[in-house]
């Protein structure tokens, strides 16, 4: 290939990836002439909208059908989720007011939120909801190890992300703009009239709404920063319930007129400037496209087809940013049928193993430590763009994925129990045991190359507890299990 041709091939990169995607589709069984048969897609659906297959969810999905199960998951408030209160009972800081959080050690506060996130991912029945919480946590990233966020991310998670994760995007955006943790993390708390700090204004447009190519200029960054001057949070004063809550200081606000993305914001707007910025950004067509593409990337493909993205953006526009309606559109069976596999990020890979193996996990700590080795502790990504959703980034380090399965079954992770005796009760041959792992972990889709290697490993002594444990660990480490 000549150099010129080579670089021309590069320019067509996304096209090449789309070809790859189509190949994958062709490899799955033909579904006849008309629409894909949604019931055949159930394992795939569950892989996409949960933190990993398990038998209970598979049975529930089979009963409700494809769209019935999506509706059930979207209506998350009506899923009882009875075990969560007791599983989270010891994490006392989750419900605390900012002033009380400030009185705790920051290490305890942030650790409890991280551990709660892990426990919810494993055990919550509201799986799609938790996946959306994860999505928005990445989108409105706040590094929990950063300054005031060590205390206040708990409030952001509880009062901004979780109540709005399946609500309406404009409300979610408005809540995030009013989040003290965000005010501190991106320095808006320091931005005042005549002495602006443009950090937040830029990321608000680049990362939260319009996207980097969404059509804003340096002038817009400056003007949005002016609109947001004066907003911050009350500093911690022992016993003062205002501590760490949103504060507007009119004397610090730039009350002149502004021009944001072509919209005049008249002088004297005060607090209302921020509301106008939220409205301008939420109504901007670039925001609809940016959010739509990101949702499609998360649930469908690293390179979602433009037509699908546009159809989801149209739902955003038609519904005023109804997140449930967008998710429903993204997950339409014809979209999912065409969706190529994606590479699990470490949290997903680790939790999916625990879920499919019906593991007990009494506390988040041991899993948190494994995720630290894999670079994916919840809410701990430093820069404001959130953990990457990309195979190029995550496929460079697979050793932790090989290790946590082995550690789980070895009993090396305190409070984590995987019980081969229960999983393989009554099974005596390598074939039976690997078949059981196939149905538990893969919904029957374990690649034959992985299955053959596992059978060969187990064959010399299929009832040996050590070999059974090793086989589970190897199944967790297997290449096929890294995809969803």
């Amino acid at each position: 290939m000549s150099r010129r041709k080579f670089w021309r091939a590069l320019a067509g990169l996304s096209a090449a990836t789309e070809l790859g995607a189509r190949r994958t589709v062709l490899a799955s069984p033909p579904t006849g002439t008309g629409d894909p048969d949604p019931s055949a897609l159930l394992p795939k659906l569950l892989n996409r909208i949960t933190f990993g297959l398990n038998q209970t969810d598979l049975a529930a999905a089979a009963q409700r059908g494809y769209s019935g199960y999506i509706d059930y998951q979207l209506d998350y408030q009506n899923i009882a989720d009875t075990s969560m209160p007791s599983r989270l009972r010891f994490l006392t800081t989750l419900a605390m007011a900012p002033v009380d959080l400030y009185a705790m050690s920051s290490g305890q506060v942030l650790t409890e939120l991280i551990d709660a996130t892990i426990i919810r991912a494993i055990f919550s029945q509201r799986q799609l909801y938790e996946r959306m919480v994860e999505f928005w946590t990445d989108h409105f990233n706040i590094d929990i190890q950063n300054g005031q966020a060590r205390y206040l991310k708990t409030v952001d998670d509880r009062d901004v992300i979780r109540p709005n994760a399946l609500g309406f995007f404009p409300q979610l955006l408005a809540a995030s703009v009013a989040s003290p943790a965000m005010m501190y993390y991106l320095d808006n708390a320091l931005s005042t009239a005549g002495a602006i700090n443009e950090n937040y204004a830029r990321e608000l447009m680049e990362l939260h709404t319009l996207g980097v190519d969404g059509g804003y200029s340096q002038r817009d960054v400056n003007e949005v920063a002016r609109c947001l001057t004066g907003w911050g949070a009350y500093p911690y004063v022992v016993g003062d319930p205002l501590s760490g809550t949103l504060r507007f200081r009119p004397e610090m606000h730039d009350n002149g007129s502004k021009l944001v993305l072509g919209h005049v914001i008249p002088e004297g707007g005060g607090q209302n400037d921020a509301a106008m910025v939220v409205q301008i950004l939420a109504n901007h067509p670039s925001t609809a496209m940016f959010i739509a593409r990101k949702l499609c990337k998360r649930f469908l493909s690293y390179t979602p087809p433009d037509g699908v993205v546009k159809s989801v953006a149209a739902v955003y526009t038609a519904t005023g940013g109804d997140i449930k309606a967008m998710v429903r559109k993204v997950l339409a069976p014809e979209h999912l049928a065409d969706a190529p596999l994606k590479f699990k990020r470490p949290l997903h890979a680790c939790v999916s193993a625990l879920r499919s193996l019906s593991a007990e996990c009494l506390a988040g700590g041991p899993i948190r430590q494994q995720l630290q080795l894999a670079g994916h502790v919840p809410m701990s990504w430093g820069p404001p763009d959130g953990y990457p959703d990309s195979i190029d980034f995550w496929s460079g380090l697979i050793l932790p994925r090989w290790n946590y399965g082995a550690l789980m079954v070895a009993g090396s992770l305190a409070g984590v129990t995987v019980n081969p005796g229960t999983l393989f009760a009554g099974l005596t041959t390598a074939d039976q045991i690997v078949s059981r792992l196939n149905s538990l972990m893969f919904g029957g889709g374990m690649p034959e190359s992985d299955a053959a290697a596992l059978r060969a490993y187990l064959a010399p002594d299929p009832t040996s507890l050590q070999l059974q444990k090793d086989t589970i660990g190897l199944a967790v480490a297997s290449p096929g299990f890294q995809w969803y």
């Binding site: 150099r3 080579f6 670089w7 590069l10 320019a11 990169l13 090449a16 990836t17 790859g20 995607a21 190949r23 994958t24 991106l186 320095d187 320091l190 931005s191 005042t192 602006i196 700090n197 443009e198 950090n199 830029r202 680049e206 340096q218 960054v221 390179t303 190529p340 596999l341 994606k342 590479f343 670079g375 994916h376 430093g382 820069p383 763009d385 195979i391 190029d392 980034f393 496929s395 460079g396 380090l397 697979i398 050793l399 090989w402 290790n403 946590y404 082995a406 070895a410 090396s412 690649p447 190359s449 290697a453 490993y457 050590q466 444990k469 090793d470 660990g473 190897l474 290449p479 096929g480």
Partner: protein, 432 residues
């Protein structure tokens, strides 16, 4: 189950095909799989396995303030724009924390004093008003991508400049199983597409967990399973298994730096120290990428005597100086350390004693064969009418000018059109 082709898959396979052909032509039959017993690791008896320098790329993530890293004390615009955070001129002898003059116009801030010996030895080069020449982005994420891809953002590419460099050259040590290392939780974009390249968060701890009685057998099962899948998992697995074997033979915990060099006990320092051990072990590693995060100093820079930026620059300089001493006090392979960031920061300080995103920045090159002791620049000036968009230091030297020259003369790779496609580099005489 057919995993989705990785982003840029076609590009990768083209790169690896070219790399393979090149390796086959250059190294002949020696490029066979290396038996597990073969790597002979001897820390003391170092010898040069090739004429190529080992490249260490340090990326200061968050946009490092070039105007503090290398202070333009001869430009009055600097002091006008930064009333409270500027580093004082060298002749302001009443101020104890003032900059150390380098050439009558630029100076090092006190935090970077540890690097003065390397500068005086003419092994440390500073490049100023440096960046991506045709870009106007102030987005961290775009700018990092543009720089690490090696294209300035003008040509869409999924691979990185270092990855392509490795791909179009044969291994410097025939049969080398580990050529590129990203000391990171995920591979740095500059290394994307590199053959025998892997992310290793901690070089001292890279092994298979679980029952040790079955570890060898389990390793074989992992090998078998991954042998039957596509890249990137297959190649990552190959390299992971090889790296486990290779790194097991280097005792990082007892590594003694040469020349009395001491490293601090922080992540960045540990990465540099382990890199020194890795390079001296001479197992064929050609490129190491190290991230140093936390440079997005929007508020409270601090002063020349202490604070956020001071601490970052001190940690950077102290440990780079230790690395320099460690690598030059005893015989070791030649090396080049490149220190870069996505862009510089706003010339004027902001309302919170910090600086917002800017444009031109500074870059460092440190190594045995660097023609240092100079600040290479085409200084555009810091008065408002001289600034990019009236705000920022202009870029007058493209970062690829520096990288390309090092790639050609120190890494022996003349395929600059592949490493930096679409860019015609101007050499600035940075190597000897």
């Amino acid at each position: 189950m057919n995993p989705e082709a990785c982003t840029g898959c076609a590009e990768y396979s083209e790169l690896s095909r070219r790399g393979f052909l090149q390796a086959a032509a250059g190294a002949g039959a020696a490029a066979a799989v290396l038996p597990a017993w073969l790597p002979r690791v001897a820390l003391a008896e170092s010898h040069r396995s090739s004429m190529r320098d080992v490249l260490v790329c340090v990326f200061l993530r968050g946009a490092a303030d070039g105007l503090t890293m290398c202070v333009p004390h001869g430009d009055s615009g600097y002091y006008a724009a930064r009333p409270t955070i500027a580093v004082a001129r060298p002749d302001q002898t009443t101020i104890s924390s003032r900059c150390i003059d380098l050439d009558g116009f630029f100076g090092l801030p006190p935090a970077m004093a540890p690097l003065l010996p390397a500068y005086t030895d003419e092994k440390l080069l500073i490049v100023h008003a440096c960046g991506i020449i045709n870009s106007d982005t102030r987005s961290h994420f775009d700018a990092q991508r543009f720089i690490e891809s090696g294209t300035g953002g003008e040509i869409p590419t999924a691979s990185g400049w270092l990855g392509r460099h490795l791909a179009v050259t044969g291994p410097s040590r025939p049969g080398s199983l580990l050529r590129g290392v990203g000391i990171s939780m995920g591979l740095q974009r500059s290394l994307y597409g590199g053959p025998s390249t892997i992310a290793v968060p901690d070089l001292a701890n890279f092994g298979l967990a679980g029952a040790q009685s079955t570890v060898a057998a389990r390793q074989e099962v992992l090998r078998t399973m991954h042998d039957q899948v596509a890249d990137p998992l297959r190649s990552t697995s190959d390299i992971t298994l090889a790296t486990i074997d290779l790194l097991r033979q280097i005792n990082f915990s007892t590594y003694q730096p040469a020349g009395g060099a001491t490293y601090q006990n922080v992540a960045f320092a540990t990465a540099l120290k382990s890199t020194a051990a890795l390079i001296k072990a001479d197992i064929g590693v050609e490129a190491v990428a190290i991230d140093y995060t936390g440079w997005d100093t929007h508020a409270n820079h601090g002063t020349a005597a202490g604070g956020w930026l001071y601490n970052l620059l001190y940690t950077l300089s102290y440990n780079l100086a230790a690395f320099y001493r460690d690598m030059t006090a005893a015989t070791a392979p030649n090396f080049v350390v490149l220190v870069m960031s996505e862009f510089g920061r706003r010339v004027a300080q902001n309302g919170s004693g910090g600086t917002d995103h800017g444009h031109g920045g500074a870059m460092l090159a440190l190594g045995n064969a660097i023609r240092g002791g100079r600040v290479v620049r085409d200084w555009p000036g810091l008065h408002t009418d001289q600034l990019f968009e009236g705000l920022d230091l202009q870029v007058t030297i493209d970062y690829r000018d520096i990288l390309a020259e090092i790639v050609q003369f120190r890494l022996g790779n003349y395929e600059l059109g592949t490493v930096f496609p679409g860019y015609d580099a101007t050499f600035r005489g940075v190597t000897i």
